[in-house]
Symmetry: C2
Subunit: 254 residues, 2 copies
Amino acid sequence: MDVTNILHMNGGIGKCSYANNSILQHIREEAIIRVYNSIHPRCLSIAELGCSSGPNAFIVVSEIIKIVENLCKEMNHKSPEYKVFMNDLPENDFNNIFKSSSTFEEKLSNEMKSQIGPCYFYAAPTSFYGRIFPNQTLHFIHSSSSLHWLSKVPEGIEKNKGNIYISNTSPLNVLKAYYEQFQKDFSLFLKCRAEELVEQGQMFLTLLGRRSEHQSTKECCYIWELMAKALNDMVLEDEEEDEEEDEDEDRMRT
Amino acid sequence: MDVTNILHMNGGIGKCSYANNSILQHIREEAIIRVYNSIHPRCLSIAELGCSSGPNAFIVVSEIIKIVENLCKEMNHKSPEYKVFMNDLPENDFNNIFKSSSTFEEKLSNEMKSQIGPCYFYAAPTSFYGRIFPNQTLHFIHSSSSLHWLSKVPEGIEKNKGNIYISNTSPLNVLKAYYEQFQKDFSLFLKCRAEELVEQGQMFLTLLGRRSEHQSTKECCYIWELMAKALNDMVLEDEEEDEEEDEDEDRMRT
């Protein structure tokens, strides 16, 4: 079986095409090149915020290092050292990450067919809605699809009866509560990162969002309505108290 | 019950007295003071190598920070930030460490009755018989009772039949093999740390050792003879093969 016929990027020019999705990769690449060219760090500090665990945790870090290594080759520079901080909540499965990190340098060197700079991996187990690093210590901060998780369930969502998030039936105060919590959290996130980033460092964030102005569009929140319905049915089946459902309010924000 | 009558330091001037044991603490204190006074770092980088897990993991880090905080008070300096790297093998229970680290700063501030500098904790899950940190990035390296664990079971210990470590019956080649492995490992350890420590940084190591020249003294190895005897008895009881015992050779070195 020729796997290249199956495992390829999406073609075409549509919404799911690689061409359109790779715009993000290009922007990220530009950001990394800008950091390297303006600072030429002997040791490049990278943070992956909300890294989660599993095989995806290292994808972006690999990409960043590959870009820098190629730049170094072009410019005939010695590779820098890489200090990589994997951040997520303390409850994250860091043990799984540690397993992959021990062979990372060797694997990437094999892929690139040349020795890369030494890579040092650390776990930073704390919420990114607070300081994670000392002042001005990071060159590149990356976070992908993590910032829709709020620091807590917003206050003032009492009348969102039967829902676990914003839905078609959610009153205006629920929308406002989620919005305000996101504003608070995101402002705090930016304030913290601003302290941690070195001058001329770069930050690359991708967030879930919606194009529609409608509060409960299929683009983002629709799934939560279906989930709430399923939960409600389960609760009714178990003849449990109504109150319990409302406690499952979600911390998500889109 | 007055716990102060029970929970006190050992008095007197004997081998187990606090006075004699606290010599180590004093030497460590001096080393930390020397680092702070010569570098005055805005952000103090500390590594605890072979931190293990459990309540003891943070004891020395607390001591170091207390000493620096007191120095800052005396000199009317602003507290530095603290970057603390907890190192052990990837199989260590880092989750347990992460739980304590989240409340560390608050607890220590309460103990000291004043706000301490911000503390950032990271896990560095890799063997200390290799590089853990980039060049010249640490101010203070600490390791206590960890360096008697070798990087591997030494080669050339085939004739140590029935033992799991050096014992009274061990032939000379077994002693030599352990000694040479320790020499290799410790040299590598020092070489790596020399690269990682900043100029005028300090390292404080405590190692198990023995005063007696006898290879299997009660001071260190005696326990392994007893353990080997117990293991042998268990193996004989289970009528298992003789070969299996010899595979349990220990990585320890004293």
